[in-house]
C-alpha cells in the first residue's frame, strides 16, 4: 500500500494513527505510572533510564540490552504529551515501511492484509498499555537487518551471503536479543523462496533459534551460573523474552508464504484471496470498497481492544501525581473502574481529603476494612502510599517503604526524589545530595535535581522546600517502635495538633474499623480543625452509635441535618426484624457509612 498509494495516503494513515494515539490512547499517562496495577495480573513496568556510560555499559553486556536501553530512553520522552504518540507512530510507520519493502523481496504478497495486519496488531498491542516497547524496537531492528541482508546479498555467492549474514548477525543478535528470530528467519525465507538455497536457508533458520540461546548461555555462564536448577526452557524463555512480537510477525510471514504456495496450486484459493486482499487486478471501485471494509474491520479491532478501564486507572494516577484532586474525584465518579487496586484507594482517599470530602464521601468508594497505613507487600511499591505517608508526616515509615521499593523496582526518579526530600527534612543534606546526584542523570527530573544541587551548594532554599518544610512541621520527633495505624496517627496529632490530615485519617481509621465510640469521643475535636458542619460520615457514625448503645450522644454543639436523620430512620426500619434485606439496605445507604459498617466491617449487629 505504501508503494501503491505513495506518500499522501501513507502519511494520512499515519497521521490518523498519531491522532488516535495522542487523543485516545494518550501514552503520556504511562510516564509516572510505574507499578500502577491495571488488573490482577497486569501492571505497568516503566523502565529506569540514566544518562552516562556506566548505565549503557550495564545494558550492553546483556543480549537485547541495546534495544532495552534505547526503549528505556525513548519511554522517558513519554513525559511530553506528543512525544509518546510520535514514537509509537514511528514504530508503526517503520514496521509498515519495512513490510512494504521486505515482503516483495521474499515474494510474499504485500497486499492489503499483509500491510494492515501488522499495523492493527501493533495498535491492539499498544491499546493494552502494558506493552514492552523494547520488543517493538527489536521488531523494527530485525526488519532493518533483513532488508540490509537482502540488499547486500543480492546476486552474491553462497560464501559471500554467509559471510554477510554472519557479520550482520552477531552484533544484531546481541543488540536485539529475541527479535533476532525474525531477522534470521526472514533471511532464511529469502534464501528459500527467492534463491532456492535450501541448505543455506536451513542454516539461517537454525541460527534464528540457536544464536539467541547460545548468546544467552554465554552471558549467563560469564555473569552468573548455569547449574542444575537452570533448565533449557528457562534459558530459552530468557533468550526470547523480548522477541515475541518479532516471533508473531515471523509466524504471520510464514503463513502468508504458505498461502502463496497454496494459491499457486489452487485457482479457487487464488481468486478468493485476490478478492479479499485486493492484490488482483480489480476495478478501482471494488478495490475501494474492499479497502474500506478492511479499514472498518481494522478500526473496529482497534477500538474493541482499547482498554478503557486501564486508561481510567492511568488517568486517575496521572491526576493524583499532578495534584489535580478534584478532577480525580470527578473521574472516578463519572467512570468508576470495576476494581480499585491498592494504589488507587490511597489516591482517592487523598483526593477526598484534599478536596475536603473525606468525612463526607469516603464510603462512596471502596474502602479496606483496615484503613491501612501499615506496610504491606501490596502497598509498598505504590507511589500513592509513599506520598500519603509523607504528607501525614510518617517520614521514617516512608523512608522504609521507599528504600524497599528502590531495592525491588530500581532507581525510579520519584523514589530518589522522595528520599532526597526525607533526608533533607531529617537534616541529612549529605545523603540527600547522593540521591540528587543520581537523580540528576534522569532525562526528565535531571534538570530540577541539578538546580537543587546547585542551590544546596549555595545554601539556598530548594525547590522542594515546600515539601521539606511541610514534612519537618509534621514528622514525628519521638520514637516509637512498630506502632499500629491508630498509634501512629495519634502520635502525629500529638506532634502537630494542627495536622488535619492526621485527624481525618484517624477518624477514617475509626470509621473503617467500626470503632464508633472512638469516633463519637473525637467529635468535640472536629471544631478545632475549622469545619463549619459535622461531616456526613461522622454524623452517620454518631447516629449509629446512639442507636446501638441506646443513649443520646453529646454532639458538642453540632446539629445533624434532617436528611441524615431521615436516612438513618429509614435504614433502622430496614434493618429491623430477623430477615434483613441486604440489597435494600445497600440501596438506601449507598455511599453512606452504614453500608460499610453493616456489609464490610464485619461488625454487624
Amino acid at each position: 500500500m505504501v508503494r501503491r498509494c505513495r506518500f499522501p495516503v501513507a502519511g494520512a494513515v499515519l497521521g490518523i494513527v498519531f491522532l488516535y494515539l495522542w487523543y485516545c490512547l494518550d501514552p503520556r499517562l504511562l510516564y509516572g505510572a510505574d507499578k500502577v496495577v491495571l488488573s490482577s495480573d497486569h501492571w505497568i513496568d516503566f523502565p529506569v533510564f540514566l544518562s552516562g556510560w556506566d548505565f549503557l555499559e550495564q545494558k550492553l553486556v546483556l543480549p537485547g540490552g541495546l534495544i532495552e536501553y534505547l526503549a528505556a530512553g525513548a519511554l522517558q520522552y513519554f513525559y511530553y504529551s506528543a512525544a509518546g504518540p510520535l514514537i509509537l507512530t514511528t514504530v508503526i510507520g517503520a514496521v509498515w515501511c519495512g513490510t512494504a519493502r521486505l515482503w516483495p523481496m521474499l515474494r510474499a504478497p504485500a497486499g492489503l492484509i499483509a500491510q494492515f495486519v501488522p499495523i492493527v496488531a501493533l495498535l491492539v498491542a499498544f491499546n493494552r498499555y502494558t506493552f514492552h516497547l523494547a520488543s517493538y524496537f527489536g521488531l523494527v531492528a530485525a526488519l532493518l537487518l533483513v532488508s540490509s541482508y537482502v540488499r547486500l546479498a543480492h546476486r552474491r555467492s553462497i560464501p559471500m551471503c554467509l559471510a554477510t549474514f554472519v557479520v550482520l548477525s552477531v552484533p544484531t543478535c546481541h543488540a536485539i536479543g529475541g527479535a533476532y528470530l525474525l531477522a534470521a528467519g526472514s533471511c532464511g525465507l529469502y534464501e528459500w523462496s527467492r534463491r532456492r538455497r535450501i541448505s543455506l536457508a536451513c542454516l539461517y533458520f537454525l541460527s534464528a533459534v540457536a544464536l539467541p540461546v547460545v548468546g544467552r548461555i554465554l552471558v549467563i555462564s560469564r555473569t552468573t551460573y548455569i547449574g542444575p536448577g537452570m533448565s533449557w526452557s528457562y534459558v530459552a524463555r530468557e533468550a526470547f523474552a523480548t522477541g515475541w512480537p518479532a516471533g508473531c510477525y515471523l509466524l504471520f510471514l510464514l503463513v502468508m508464504s504458505v498461502s502463496r504456495a497454496a494459491r499457486r496450486h489452487s485457482p479457487w484459493i487464488r481468486s478468493t484471496w485476490r478478492r479479499i486482499d485486493g492484490t488482483g487486478r480489480l476495478r478501482r471501485s471494488r478495490l475501494a470498497v474492499r479497502s474500506a471494509v478492511l479499514l472498518l474491520l481494522a478500526v473496529a479491532a482497534v477500538l474493541v481492544s482499547w482498554d478503557r478501564e486501564a486508561r481510567t486507572l492511568l488517568k486517575a494516577n496521572d491526576f493524583a501525581r499532578r495534584g489535580r484532586w478534584p478532577e480525580l474525584v470527578d473521574l472516578l465518579v463519572s467512570a468508576p473502574p470495576a476494581a480499585y487496586p491498592p494504589g488507587l484507594v490511597y489516591d482517592i482517599n487523598r483526593a477526598l481529603f484534599e478536596t475536603g470530602q473525606l468525612g463526607d464521601r469516603m464510603f462512596a468508594f471502596p474502602q479496606s476494612p483496615e484503613f491501612g497505613l501499615q506496610i504491606s507487600a501490596e502497598a509498598m511499591p505504590q507511589r500513592s502510599y509513599h506520598e500519603t505517608l509523607l504528607q501525614l508526616g510518617c517520614a521514617n515509615e516512608a523512608e522504609h517503604v521507599i528504600h524497599e521499593s528502590l531495592e525491588v523496582i530500581g532507581l525510579q526518579p520519584y523514589l530518589l526524589s522522595e528520599l532526597a526530600t526525607i533526608n533533607l527534612a531529617k537534616g541529612q543534606p549529605g545523603a540527600a545530595r547522593v540521591f540528587l546526584n543520581v537523580l540528576s542523570r534522569d532525562i526528565v527530573w535531571g534538570e530540577q535535581a541539578r538546580a537543587d544541587l546547585a542551590r544546596l551548594d549555595r545554601n539556598e532554599p530548594l525547590s522542594s522546600d515546600e515539601a521539606v518544610r511541610h514534612l519537618r512541621s509534621v514528622m514525628l520527633q519521638q520514637d516509637v517502635i512498630a506502632p499500629s495505624s491508630e498509634q501512629l496517627l495519634l502520635r502525629l496529632l500529638r506532634r502537630n495538633p494542627a495536622n488535619r490530615m492526621a485527624f481525618e485519617y484517624l477518624m477514617a481509621h475509626y470509621l473503617s474499623t467500626g470503632q464508633l465510640q472512638k469516633v463519637v469521643e473525637a467529635i468535640p475535636q472536629v471544631r478545632a480543625f475549622g469545619y463549619d458542619r459535622l461531616p456526613e460520615h461522622y454524623a452517620e457514625a454518631v447516629l449509629l452509635y446512639g442507636q446501638l448503645a441506646g443513649r443520646r450522644v453529646d454532639l458538642g454543639g453540632w446539629t445533624l441535618t434532617e436528611a441524615s436523620v431521615s436516612r438513618f430512620r429509614t435504614l433502622v426500619e430496614l434493618t429491623r426484624g430477623p430477615d434483613r434485606d441486604r440489597s435494600a439496605i445497600e440501596r438506601v445507604a449507598s455511599g453512606t457509612y452504614y453500608t460499610h459498617y453493616f456489609l464490610y466491617s464485619g461488625q454487624q449487629r
Binding site: E397, H400, E404, E407
Partner: protein, 521 residues
C-alpha cells in the same frame, strides 16, 4: 583507482589529519606556570585527602578540586623527589597509576606534597597552600573484601560480597545476591588470619540458610540449624589454625523507629558454638551459650588461645517468633567484652573473663577484634545494642591489652563508625563510617602505630573521584586479606545449589565443658 574512491580516500586523510591536529592542540602542558598568585589557604578537595597517612600500596587518590577554574594542575612531590604533574581541564584530578606507585614507593615513611594550581577565567593562575600527606612505611594487606548493599531494610535484591585490590581499582565479586536463579542475602564473611584460603560466607534466602565454608579451594555448604537449635549461624571467626570456626547463633530481628534513625536490630537470643571443620562437629559450652545471656560477635585472639566475644544479660522471656516484640527497655541492653580460653588440641575451655564491661564504659561494647600482634583490642562502643552500624553514637575504641587502658580513636566522627578489621601486620585498620552523609557507609583505612596512635584515615579511593557522590551502596563489613579469594563465584554457587548440605548437630558432650559460666572479673 576510480575518481570517487580517490575523493573518499582524500577525505579520510584530511579527517585523520584534522583529528591529530585537534589532539595535539588540545594537549595540556605538563609543566607548572611561572606567574602565579598565592592563596593563603589549601584548596578544597574532595574526598578530603589532606593530612592523612597513606598506605604505600594504595591506588591513586584521585580527587576533585572544589575551586572554580578553567584549568587545573597538581604537582605531587616529596622531599628530594620532584614527583609528577597532573594537568586537567576540569576539576577531576586523575593520576597515572604508574607514576603514583613510583612516588609512594620511593617515599615510604616520608611526607608527600600536593601543590594545587587553578587557572581562573581571567587566565590567572592561583596556587593554594600545599596539601601535605604522609606515606607510612608499612603496607596494608593487598586486598580488602567488603559487603556492598543499598540501605536495605528487609529485602535483598542487590547485595554482594566483593574484593578489591588495594593498589588498583579492580573490584570483583566473591558472591553477589542476584546471580543464579534466585536471590539471597549474602552476609558476613570471614577469613583465617587474613588469609582467604580459609573463607567463610553466610547466605540466607530461598536456596536455604547456610554457611559456605571454603578451605583450600573446596566449598562446603553447612547448615547449623537443628531441632534443638533453630537459629542460623551469623557472625563467625576462623581460628588461626584454619580448622575451627566459632560462630554466633542469633535470633535477631530488624525493627523500625518512627523518629531519628529508621532502622534497628534487636537480638532476642544468641549463643556461640564452634564448628570443627575436620570432624564436621558442632560443639559448645554453657559458658558461651548460656540461655540467660546473649553471646555474640566471636573473635579469636591471634594465637588462637582465647575466644573474645560480647555478651549481655537477657532480661526478657523466650517467645515464639510471632509473639515477640522488641522490649520497651531495649536501650538498656548493653554488651560487655569477655574472653574465654580454649585449647584447640584438647577442646578444653577456660573460665570467662570480662575484658571491658558496659557498666564501666557506660556504652554497649561490641565487635571485638584483637590486632594480629596481640597488643590491641579494637572495639565499637555505642549507646546500646549489638548492631552499632545503625547507631550514630557508635565509635571505635582501642584498648591496650597489656595495660587494660582504652580510649576512643581520635578519628571517630559524630556519625556511625564501626565494622573494623586489622591488617595482618597490625599497622592498618579498615572500618566503615557514615561520616559523610549519615546514611551511606564508606570504607576508610587508618594507620595505627606501635603506640596505638591512629592517623587521619583515608577514604578507599575510586577511579572516578566523584564515584561516591552518586553511589547508593553501603560499604560495610570490610576485612583485610593478604591475597584474593581463590574460590570463584561459580564454585560458591555450585555449593549453594547443591542438594547436599552438610547438616551438623550440636554435640555438647564431645568437648570438655566448664559449666560455671560465670565471668571472672
Amino acid at each position: 583507482m576510480s575518481r570517487p574512491r580517490r575523493w573518499w580516500l582524500a577525505l579520510l586523510v584530511v579527517l585523520l589529519f584534522a583529528l591529530m591536529l585537534t589532539g595535539w592542540l588540545s594537549r595540556l602542558p605538563t609543566d607548572l606556570p611561572r606567574a602565579v598568585t598565592m592563596v593563603a589557604r589549601p584548596a578544597r578537595i574532595a574526598p578530603d585527602y589532606t593530612g592523612c597517612t597513606l598506605p604505600p600500596n594504595i591506588a591513586p587518590l584521585n580527587f576533585v578540586v572544589q575551586e572554580p577554574g578553567t584549568q587545573y594542575r597538581v604537582h605531587l612531590c616529596a622531599e628530594g623527589d620532584n614527583g609528577f604533574i597532573v594537568s586537567s581541564r576540569d576539576a577531576n584530578i586523575q593520576m597515572s597509576a604508574e607514576l603514583w606507585r613510583g612516588l609512594l614507593e620511593r617515599n615510604r615513611g616520608n611526607r608527600v606534597y600536593w601543590r594545587v594550581l587553578v587557572r581562573d577565567e581571567h587566565r590567572q593562575w592561583r596556587e593554594f597552600q600545599t596539601i601535605e600527606n604522609r606515606i607510612a612505611r608499612e603496607d596494608a594487606d593487598a586486598y580488602v573484601s567488603y559487603r556492598r548493599l543499598t540501605p536495605v531494610h528487609t529485602l535483598f535484591a542487590n547485595m554482594g560480597t566483593f574484593q578489591r585490590e588495594l593498589s588498583s581499582f579492580a573490584e570483583s565479586p566473591i558472591l553477589v545476591s542476584a546471580v543464579g536463579l534466585s536471590r539471597r542475602c549474602v552476609n558476613c564473611h570471614t577469613f583465617s588470619a587474613n588469609n582467604p584460603d580459609c573463607t567463610l560466607l553466610h547466605m540466607r534466602g530461598t536456596d536455604g540458610v547456610a554457611m559456605l565454608v571454603a578451605r583450600n579451594g573446596q566449598v562446603a555448604k553447612v547448615d547449623t540449624r537443628s531441632a534443638t537449635n533453630p537459629f542460623p549461624a551469623s557472625y563467625s571467626t576462623w581460628h588461626p589454625n584454619g580448622r575451627v570456626i566459632a560462630f554466633s547463633l542469633n535470633d535477631m530481628d530488624q525493627f523500625f523507629h518512627s523518629a531519628g534513625t529508621t532502622r534497628g536490630v534487636f537480638d532476642f537470643h544468641s549463643d556461640l558454638a564452634l564448628f570443627l571443620t575436620e570432624s564436621g562437629q558442632m560443639v559448645t559450652t554453657p559458658a558461651i551459650s548460656d540461655p540467660d545471656w546473649l553471646e555474640t560477635f566471636p573473635s579469636w585472639s591471634p594465637d588462637g588461645k582465647n575466644l573474645y566475644f560480647c555478651r549481655a544479660r537477657r532480661t526478657w522471656p523466650a517467645l515464639r517468633k510471632k509473639e515477640r516484640i522488641v522490649p520497651a527497655d531495649y536501650r538498656q541492653v548493653r554488651y560487655d567484652i569477655v574472653r574465654i580460653a580454649y585449647d584447640e588440641k584438647t577442646g578444653a575451655w577456660g573460665k570467662l573473663e570480662t575484658v571491658l564491661a558496659a557498666r564501666d564504659t557506660g556504652w554497649s561494647v561490641t565487635e571485638p577484634r584483637v590486632s594480629p600482634d596481640g597488643r590491641f583490642l579494637l572495639v565499637t562502643m555505642a549507646e546500646y545494642g549489638s548492631f552499632p552500624v545503625f547507631l550514630d553514637s557508635s565509635d571505635l575504641y582501642l584498648m591496650d591489652l597489656r595495660t587494660g587502658k582504652y580510649w576512643p580513636l581520635p578519628i571517630n566522627s559524630p556519625l556511625s563508625d564501626s565494622w573494623h578489621s586489622w591488617s595482618s601486620n597490625s599497622r592498618w585498620i579498615v572500618f566503615a563510617s557514615k561520616r559523610d552523609n549519615g546514611l551511606f557507609g564508606r570504607l576508610y583505612l587508618a594507620h595505627v602505630d606501635e603506640a596505638g596512635q591512629v592517623a587521619k584515615p583515608v577514604l578507599l579511593p575510586q577511579h572516578d573521584p566523584r564515584y561516591y557522590d552518586a553511589c547508593l551502596d553501603n560499604f560495610n563489613a570490610p576485612e583485610f586479606m593478604v591475597k584474593p579469594v581463590s574460590v570463584s563465584q561459580r564454585e560458591f554457587l555450585q555449593a549453594i545449589y547443591s542438594t547436599e548440605a552438610q547438616s551438623v548437630v550440636m554435640d555438647k558432650q564431645s568437648c570438655s565443658v566448664d559449666s560455671s559460666g560465670k565471668a571472672e572479673q
